[in-house]
Amino acid sequence: MNIQEHLPILLVATPILMSALMIMLRSRPTFQKTLNIIVSASLLLMSIILLLQVWNSGIQVYEVGEWGKYGIMLVADLLGSGMVVLSSGISLLALIYSLDYIEGKSLNTTYHSLFNLLVAGLNGTFLTGDIFNMFVFFEILLLSSCGLVVASENGGVTKISDKMEATFKYLILNIIGSMLMLVAVASLYATVGTLNMADLSVKISALSDAGTLPWHIYFIALLFLIVFGNKAAIFPLHYWLPDVHPTAPSPISAMLSGVMIKVGAYGILRVYFLVFKDALFLLQPIIILLALITIAIGAIAAVGQKDVKRLLAYSSVSQIGYVFLGIGMGTAYALTASLVYLVNHAIAKSMLFLTSGGIIHHAGTRDMHQMGGMVKSAPLMSSMFLIGAMSIAGLPPLGGFIAKFVLFDAAMLGEYYLPLLIGFAFAVFTIFYMFRAWLLMFWGETRDSDKYGPYSSHGLSPMITVPIIILAAAVLILGVYSEPLIALSSEIANQLLDPQPYINAVLGGSVR
């Protein structure tokens, strides 16, 4: 058997298998940990091989069960496999980090299984070619993240009641999203008789060309905006994010902010540019409008935060707005920018959340006003947070700068002057709130030890520091030399704007 052909499914099914195995292996925690790390690392490896394969020899299609478009197909195009690489990388690091960060009992009982299913959910979403299957994986994502948010962390700074409250809000809002997704998918099936996205694309285009596209297809398309917007937390669907991301254990916050919200952006890119490309004219202005409001709301609210993780969460809201701004502009260059932005934010923000975990570990609180002068006691966390903060703020020479630059350049070339202006204004906000956070935590008077108790004296273990350093290195490298990322993104953008190769790959050989 040729294992390379099976890479797409292996990326999804292996974590599911592992999750099952982890439940069976509960009594052997060390073995569990080792196995999980090995599997995560090999998933990363596999995803990279898949990406290279796709890059070299075009879109890969995998027919689950060999049923062609009548079953479910996995499609690894550059966007999908690229996202898988991103998520695999971040999840490997988050997993390593977790081993020291998550409280032992929680870690040895459910954590590994939940985490594996989260990974499976991500990879499944990124690779599926079937719209209903995407719903299923969305549910996996939803419930696995809920389960992980309430996992206990060492040191337990976050009240369990806060976790519950956040999870409840998250769940309620996302269930509504899921329901709407079902409504949309069912209506789509009822109208064109298929669930395969490539097939949908062909049929809707044909209807559009013939001028017989029913009007409610537009509404269905807009429903998907709610569905994916909900995942991505764009205004006014962002409300759950500032509650959930801070209360989750830090490695999970990193996964949520780093990868999970990108699922929404991915969904928009995939579904809108493949299936609803004929409705884009209607969708794009709406996306831009919502994106701008999102940018503003996130940035302004971030300024007023005193909880470091909540600030980071609001920052994620604001930053995802920039990603959607690029999507809304919709030119090849803007999409490139959006993807570059997405990747940079993913890496920098997950790094920041991991760092904030270290900081909280050190300070014993999430309240920045109760921290101060930690640059002396936690110099590594200080420089790591600074690198992340600068990248998010879009300052050179870090990845975030390249991202902002490309995005603004795209906005300029696309003559989106007002969005550009707003984007710029809130970029200054970003500098302000990121640096304010850094200053509050690391500069100033060292915290009065009588009042709050001393900072934790024990150092952070390599399990915690190494993932952060690796991500920081990535942020730096992306700032100094982004060419591969930009080239990849622009290739992805081209694939998005011309879905014909995708369609051919999926349907061309579909004979049984």
């Binding site: 299923v136 549910e139 939803l142 419930l143 008789g193 051919n504 579909s510 004979v511």
Partner: protein, 139 residues
């Protein structure tokens, strides 16, 4: 079944569920969610595309009685869908939507279970079922 009346019913239940979801009592909210999921399940079934009169279970015959049409829907030939032989009559209702609903039902069972237990724990932590009291996370 008449589509119009079914659609109206689905919409009404959806609306009632929505109304419940806007209540303050956490259990009521969850009941609302369950109602909506009923509505959605019905909705999916109602989008089934055939109006057959038999359940999609092939009762007659052995495993080799049905020929099994090999569909040739090659895109390169400009064919987008299974070619239905002329005169082919569908006696069955649409099986696909049923399968989809089954999946949706199970998933909503899982979600409901989780959110109910969550409600219980929230009551334990907050001492109330009033979701307006769930406002520690704000700002």
């Amino acid at each position: 079944m008449n589509n119009t009346i079914l659609s109206i019913t689905i919409a009404l239940i959806f609306g009632i569920g929505t109304f419940l979801m806007l209540r303050r009592d956490i259990v009521k909210v969850i009941i609302g969610l369950s109602l909506i999921s009923h509505a959605v399940n019905l909705l999916i079934v109602s989008t089934g595309v055939f109006d057959g009169e038999k359940a999609p279970i092939i009762s007659n015959g052995h495993h080799d009685s049905s020929s099994g049409i090999i569909f040739t829907d090659k895109l390169s030939d400009g064919i987008f869908a299974p070619i239905v032989p002329s005169g082919m009559e569908v006696h069955f209702v649409d099986p696909l939507v049923q399968a989809l609903v089954l999946t949706a039902i199970v998933i909503s069972l899982a979600t409901t279970a989780f959110i109910l237990i969550l409600a219980y724990r929230i009551h334990e932590e907050y001492g109330t079922t009033d979701i307006r009291k769930l406002r520690r996370l704000r700002g």
